[in-house]
Amino acid sequence: MRKKGLALLAVAGSLAFGVAACGDDDDDGTASGSTTEQSSDGGDISGSIAIDGSSTVAPFAEAAAELFNEEYPDVKITVGTSGTGGGFEKFCAGETDISTASRPIDEEEEVPVCEQGGVKYTEIVVANDGIAVATNKDLAVDCMTVEQLKQLWNKGSKITKLSEIDPSFPDTELSLYGPGTDSGTFDFFTDQINGEEGVSREDYEASEDDNQLVTGVEGDDGGLGYFGFSYYEGAQDQLNLVGVDAGGGCVKPSTETIQDGSYKPLSRPLFVYPKADAVTRPEVKAFLDYTVENAAAIAEAAKIVPLTEEQVGTAKEELATAESGS
């Protein structure tokens, strides 16, 4: 599908941007280097960029927009949080320029919609994320296996206390929190834990707003929930982090275990999908260049797990090919 996007770009014939992209790419990649170069060739860029999609990627996109605006104050960037599915819905209808996603675009359900809408795109990994399973401070659980999580969260589950799963777990009445069904976090968790995307017990408090989930887990004695790791980090003093055992021993999510993928199966890359038509616009191109170039700094500002060196290299390549349109 990436090839198709590039074909369209070639038609668009944005040779100038291709050259510029190559220039950026050849640059050694330090943030300061790219900054000077960009402001020299386009400090007067203006326009607007519509971004929508995953609520997990939103902090990253917002931080990117904020930092980018320090250099290009005339570019208006809106960041929506419709969820990954909702974001693609708008993206494929041509309403947004960049879609953010916490999972790859769905080959069967979403790709055809985009094709129908004539929207071509490129996929770029911009950060890493893990889903944290967390409980209230008073609900002392150190580690759960994937199987135990499945018992708790699977469709039709009647578990009301963790002690029903394992007698060594606390005997507190649970109150469960999780993301809404449009969220990429929900899709990813249900896919990895329950074995099928979208299958889950229904009687839990669902919200697209991860902060509301954190508030709930933090406040209820039997609070247990799952949400993006960055939201856990923001409230880690008030929450108890549960490690996950996928068969190879208990691993707690952290920057390192999420980056290297050892926190299984709940770590994942985060994506942005720029629309091919939009990449030809100078403001979008500048924004993407900036984002990839400064991905680590943005991730840090957004309290999200940054890319490894190797991933940054791949992202740059993806972007360069998208921009050169070849």
Binding site: E89, E208, D220
Partner: protein, 320 residues
């Protein structure tokens, strides 16, 4: 030529005598004002009709996919799930709405009526001067402020720490009580107005028969103002039924069919708000649920208002 003289004489006559009715500048101005006033009134009618139309359209589409019986009598509301987990029984939402409204009214009715009576009959002028503006201020507080007040102060500090109740972070008790507080000014102000409108002669008559102040207020003035009081209650209930933000923030988002005050509930209005936040594709069945729930809420509020009109007529007493 004849035309010319006729026009001239008409002009002169129009100014001097009122026997011949001619559109003068003044009457034309009045007609313009009338048309303007009519247009203003027509706007609200037109908007109401447009709302009904938009609701009906999606309602019909919705009932193309889901049977009326499944919707009205189903006890499981999980439209956002897929496959066989999807269920469209609206009863939990209706229940959540009325349960929270009920809790709110348990707080608002006594507090509202008693403070209305106090303000109308007993309060010294100095106290009235302070209490009334404060009540009006309370009525003007945005509901989102009430919502976060319930979530971040009332639930943890008052219910949990002070009263020691084991409520969930999102629970019916907190949302319901704060909902009641929201409605208090509505009820209090209307009750006070209704009682103040009772003619002074009734109070004088009661005093002449030897009734003291409390007896006069409770046995004479209050019954005389009953139609206004009933209107106040129904208006308060309507306000609570349609209230969205407090429940969305403090009451939780779980369609729940139980009696437990400590658990989280979802009301119809809160469901609409939570679902319409931009996550769902236009035209999907989830999208249609927003409208069908809106339609249900619309019909229920309409019924409530009709009841109130009935009751007000029934208890109305007219004094000279």
């Amino acid at each position: 030529m004849a035309d010319h003289t006729a026009a001239a004489s008409e002009g002169a006559m129009g100014r001097r005598t009122s026997l011949v009715r001619r559109p003068s500048r003044r009457s034309r101005f009045e007609a313009g004002v009338k048309a303007l006033l009519f247009a203003a009134a027509a706007v609200s009618v037109a908007v109401t009709l447009a709302i009904i139309f938009s609701l009906v359209k999606e309602t019909i589409a919705f009932f193309g996919d889901v049977s009326v019986g499944d919707y009205l009598f189903g006890t499981k509301w999980t439209p956002q799930f897929a496959g066989d987990q999807q269920s469209f029984g609206v009863i939990p939402l209706v229940w959540g709405t009325f349960y929270l409204t009920f809790i709110g009214l348990v707080v608002a009715v006594p507090v509202g009526i008693l403070s209305g009576i106090y303000l109308a009959e007993f309060a010294p002028r100095r106290i009235r001067k302070i209490v009334k503006p404060v009540l009006e201020l309370l009525a003007g507080v945005p509901t989102i402020v009430f919502g976060y007040f319930a979530l971040t102060f009332f639930t943890p500090e008052v219910l949990r720490n002070f009263l020691g109740l084991g409520v969930n972070q999102f629970n019916a008790l907190s949302a319901g009580i704060i909902l009641g507080i929201l409605v208090v000014p509505t009820i209090a102000t209307l009750v006070e107005d209704a009682m103040s409108a009772v003619p002074q002669s009734l109070r004088e008559g009661a005093a002449g028969l030897g009734a003291n102040k409390v007896q006069t207020a409770i046995r004479v003035v209050f019954p005389a103002a009953l139609s206004g009081v009933v209107a106040a209650l129904v208006l308060g209930a309507s306000r609570a039924v349609g209230e969205t933000v407090i429940i969305l923030i403090a009451g939780g988002q779980q369609a729940n069919l139980s009696l437990n005050l400590y658990e989280s509930y979802q009301s119809m209005a809160a469901y609409i708000a939570a679902t319409a936040r931009g996550d769902i594709p236009t035209g999907s069945i989830e999208y249609e649920t927003i409208f069908i729930v809106g339609m249900t809420l619309f019909v229920l509020t309409l019924v409530l208002n009709l009841i109130s009109i009935r009751l007000v007529r029934k208890y109305r007493q007219v004094y000279e």
